[in-house]
Amino acid sequence: MNPGIALAATAHHPGFLSPTGVEITFVLVGLATLGAALLTVTTRQLVHAALWLVVALGGLAVEYLLLTAEFIAWVQVLIYVGSVVVLLLFGLMLTRAPIGRSPDADSGNRWVALGVAGAAAVTLVWVVVDAFRATWINLHGAVQGTSRATGTSLFRHWVLPFEALSVLLLAALVGAIVLSRRDDGGRGSE
């Protein structure tokens, strides 16, 4: 599946019935993350939803750390917690973010949204389980998620997707500029 990060598939598979401390922590943090994510979509207070999103994204970063992917974990914190959520909060505060309940924060599409979310979750879980069926990370050997390992695999084996993504981001950037420019029939608002 992933030639860059060769996960050590040990000869004797550890069983599910004797979990290690790391595995127990992983499950607990996962549950907390899931809880925070559920609160994000169910709370009636807009800004609280954004703050619960911080907790969920931070929980994900901890999960990455437990999977020894240190670099990815800090990128997660930097991009999502540090920038995306700040942007989100900025947008909320600029528009409407009352303290207390937001009566218009409800959507008629909630059941459709639930269906889509459920379908996406099932697909993703199925793909991940299928891909990494019996792969175990050897926690006692060399760390496999170092920035060196990540960089090597990214720029040796996955350069093309990386470049394609950057073009996509460039397109998004140009699109944002086009959308935010207001050309009122030639007399632009400079």
Binding site: V47, E70, F71, L78, S83, V86, I99
Partner: protein, 320 residues
Amino acid sequence: MNDTLDVVLRLIAVLVVFLVLPLLVGQTEHKVMAHMQGRLGPMYAGGFHGWAQLVADGVKFAQKEDVVPADADRRVFQLAPAVALLPYLLVLIAIPIGPHGFVGQNLDAGLFFVLAVMGVGVLGSLMAGWASANKFSLLGALRTAAQLMAYELPMLLAAASVAMAAGTLSLPGIVGSYHWWWTPWQLLGGMVFFTAGLAELQRPPFDMPVADSEIIFGAYTEYTGLRFALFLLAEYAGIVVLCGLTTVLFLGGWHGPWSGSVGWLWTLLKAALLAFVVIWLRVSYPRLREDQLQKLAWTVLIPLSLAQIALTGVVKVVTS
């Protein structure tokens, strides 16, 4: 067991640094500002040149009533100071003081860790500003967010330039591969990093988010007592972190004569010098207007940091 003891001792050391150095910077600020403005500053508390003034301030803050406005979002309001302060404590763990493992914890992606966690601190200001149910606070929070988004990018780019030069993201690794000619080579990046860091800490001349003549004290207007003190402490801890980071990334950290034995002293000296510059800037520059702030970031600092990255890349390719 020995490992556990080692970790606990290191964490305690980091905590002590976290509690002592910001106070030292604060007291230095009192005195330096006073002398630059031709006055004495605090002189009575503690006897010798008012050294205990900040302790007295702390006692005063602890005695004050902890007020939460009636319309505020109580939990977010009370949580905000911790969110603003804790990131700096975490960051200190990764900053190396001296050679041979004189660091809280050697992280493989230390540079990323430091920048990522520092960025979280702004959430505290945002939460404080929104939860206060006060228009001035909200305006302050908005300015904070806009400022952070503008200055995070040049800071990251400047740091990336150093990481490229050193070929590693580990902070001790970066200092370890330092040569004296790095400082002139990375000078541009260093200035951008330091300036953007000042803006991220909302220090003058980048203190638009707390501009007292316009919006009282920005996001912290409604805070009293200990929680207000925590925000102030976060600012001074931020100065310590920023000066330490600039030292480590651009000024060679522990490198200097006899660095094997007194390397930690060099790091502290260089950081102290930078802290002095931070205070100096506060006294000598007027506050930038909001549009000037944004313009400086987007039209000066980002192009400069991109030029620095290009320069680093070219030199790296030519010399390797």
